[in-house]
């Protein structure tokens, strides 16, 4: 029934009455109405109200998965008791079903936190959601996403953890809850993100409640990635590139963008998409009308596709992403995403070096050349750097394929001299490593950039050293968020490791 309703709402928007209920009000409602967060051993009182229940039959309760217990069950209330011992955060759903009609239900999602893990979220480099499709070095996680203001939620796995972009983006094909888009003048608000390879993702901008560990981002806009039905994607979004709207092109269910900006239209603290900026409407927001097309539009910052961390009530100034060292290859590597920097005992900067970001980049000195557009990015699956040492390339024309492993050193320099340090890294033969480890997803020694290119001069040409996911293996990498404050540290944004 629920899926049926969702379909009608999505397709027509005005046919809610066609869902089989004569009332738009759900017949069962719970208090509290929105997802709750508990610590180990804590209890939660839940009450249910049933409309159109003249014989006062009330509800029956169920718990899924059956972790923790339901106690003191009555036809109108129950107590959820979290286990006393919790070693990792988990989520359960308590469901109330109307006794008079068990098809009428209401869920309450409860996250139970392990001690000291309220700001910790697991991330794994593994094969991902597409069967038979092995994508190397994709750090994946799950997110709990709910219809705004409700406990109608979905845990969505296979989401790429990306310190190189900002905002949560979900393939519509992976979504089974209903997230209606924002509208302007009767048109839907849509968003466009493009990546360096000119792949793009298009989709509606929809408010949702996003829960990660014990943190919550309520009512933030997310992008629902899908091709439009009633109009075509504007040319300045497609820009001739590839549409990454399916798992065939983008082998994940979405992107958790936890980069250096609070929204996807904030650049060095300036938000040209916000109406207060006085800018002309432009990418990345459009208002679109079926049968007509799209026009660029302005959108208040609070409605823009938002870095969920920046919307947290606590621990909102950045994050730490860390993985153990991998070595040549492993089938799975488990890492941790920690929210906040210097906000709790477990996210202290301690002896990490801060590297200031100026004009979106820092500088990497490699083979004596300053590469002035360098950056750290968990969403890049290799190290990418120009071939300044004559390493043999692979047959794919991009990756490095040296005859034997090569150890190299490069130096990172933050903007305005904030942060210097050298990094030693290893480059192995991409083809033989991947072919020799066909079941593995995590590779520490793969790199690309082998093709002959133009030297970095005047800020054009080969100016970037992309410290992709292999850089995170065996490191804690801090990503602070622009306009947020980290006490006693330089102005954000910066990276630290």
């Amino acid at each position: 029934m629920r899926a049926f309703c969702t379909f009608l709402i999505t397709a027509g928007s005005l046919f809610l009455a066609g869902c089989g209920s004569t009332s738009a009000t759900p017949p069962v409602s719970l208090t509290p109405p929105m997802p709750q967060i508990l610590n180990a051993g804590e209890t939660l009182n839940i009450t249910a109200a049933v409309t159109n229940d003249p014989s006062k039959k009330g509800v029956s309760w169920s718990l899924s998965p059956s972790t923790g217990t339901l106690a003191n069950e009555t036809s109108t209330s129950v107590i959820y008791q979290a286990p006393d011992t919790v070693t990792g955060n988990f989520t359960v759903t308590v469901t109330a079903a109307a006794a008079a009609d068990s098809s009428k239900t209401a869920p309450l999602v409860i996250t139970v936190l392990a001690p000291g893990q309220g700001n910790l979220h697991p991330v794994s480099v593994e094969n991902g959601p597409v069967a038979g499709e092995l994508y190397l070095n994709f750090p994946l996680t799950s997110v709990l996403v709910c219809e705004h203001g409700t406990s109608i939620c979905q845990v969505i796995g296979g989401i790429l953890v990306d310190t190189g972009s900002s905002g949560l983006r979900i393939l519509k094909s992976a979504l089974n809850i209903n997230l209606p888009p924002l509208t302007q003048s009767g048109g839907t608000v849509n968003n466009c993100i493009s990546f360096v390879g000119q792949q793009f993702q298009w989709g509606e901008v929809a408010p949702a409640d996003v829960y990660l560990a014990g943190e919550s981002a309520i009512g933030i806009s997310v992008q629902i990635i899908a091709d439009p039905v009633g109009f075509t994607i504007p040319a300045n979004c497609t820009n001739g590139g590839a549409d990454a709207d399916t798992q065939l092109v983008f082998p994940a269910n979405g992107i958790l963008g936890i980069g250096t900006e609070p929204t996807d239209c904030t650049f060095a603290g300036v938000n040209p998409c916000d109406p207060s900026s006085g800018s002309n409407p432009s990418l990345p927001y459009f208002v679109c009308f079926d049968g007509q097309g799209c026009a660029p539009t302005l959108l208040p910052q609070a409605q823009q596709v938002t870095n969920p961390i920046a919307a947290f009530a606590h621990d909102n100034n950045g994050s730490i992403l860390e993985f153990p060292a991998v070595g040549t290859a492993l089938p799975t590597v488990n890492g941790t995403l920690t929210f906040g920097i210097n906000t709790q005992l477990n996210n202290a900067l301690s002896n990490a070096t801060v590297f200031a970001i100026g004009d979106d980049f820092f500088t990497t000195i490699f083979e004596g050349q300053p590469l002035t557009k360098s950056f750290i990015d968990s969403g890049s699956n290799e190290l990418v750097f120009p071939n300044l040492t004559g390493i043999p390339g692979c047959s794919d024309g991009h990756s490095y394929c040296p005859a034997s492993p090569i150890v190299l050193t490069a130096g990172n320099q933050g903007a305005q001299g904030v942060g210097t340090g050298s990094v030693t890294f290893q480059v192995d033969n991409f083809e033989t490593e991947v072919a020799g480890n066909p079941e593995d997803a995590a590779f520490e020694y793969i790199a690309a950039g082998a093709e002959e290119r133009t030297p970095c001069q005047n800020g054009q040409g080969d100016c970037m050293f992309d410290w992709g996911l292999p850089f995170f293996f065996g490191r804690k990498v801090f990503t602070s968020i622009d306009t947020e404050i980290v006490a006693n540290q330089p102005k954000t944004p910066w990276w630290a490791y």
């Binding site: 390879g197 590839a242 650049f267 007509q292 990418v384 991009h398 800020g459 054009q460």
Partner: protein, 183 residues
Amino acid sequence: MDFPSARLNAGLGMVADTYMATVVYTMGGWRRLQVVLATLLVVFGTNIFASASLGGDLGSVHRDSIHVNVIPQTTNAERYTIYEMRISTGTHVREFISPSGVVFGVAWQGPFVPELQQFLGAYYYREYSVAIQSQKSNPFSRKPVHLRLADLAFENGGRVGAFYGRAYIPQAIPPAVAIAEIH
């Protein structure tokens, strides 16, 4: 990969975009001019916006500037002239025009890659698009782009929200001008 025919016709969509922008927002003078042009295009069924920029003449630079609603700043160098526009996305675009009046290079830097259909012109946009869509080795990699085609070089680097790149016609670069000058 097939080149989607809808993309080739996107110029008409651009006109629709323009029309809709006028419905939703108040217009400046440049916008108004653009709308007049767009209306003419609809009336006459042609699309001068798709005419060449890269490889085009000074007139194509002006058409670009109308399209993005910005009056370009002009810099005269010894061997070429630069027309620079800061478009509404915040991206800076520079078009390089030779003494013989040919746009031989376009460079950009900013949050978004500029609208390539406009700045490359129909011919080079098609070449670029076919080439970039045929890059199958790794469909979602974040490696920078470096296309070397017979009569077009195309580069794009950076990261989401901070791109830099350029396109140029190697054969059209004036004598004694270095590629590094296209920035």
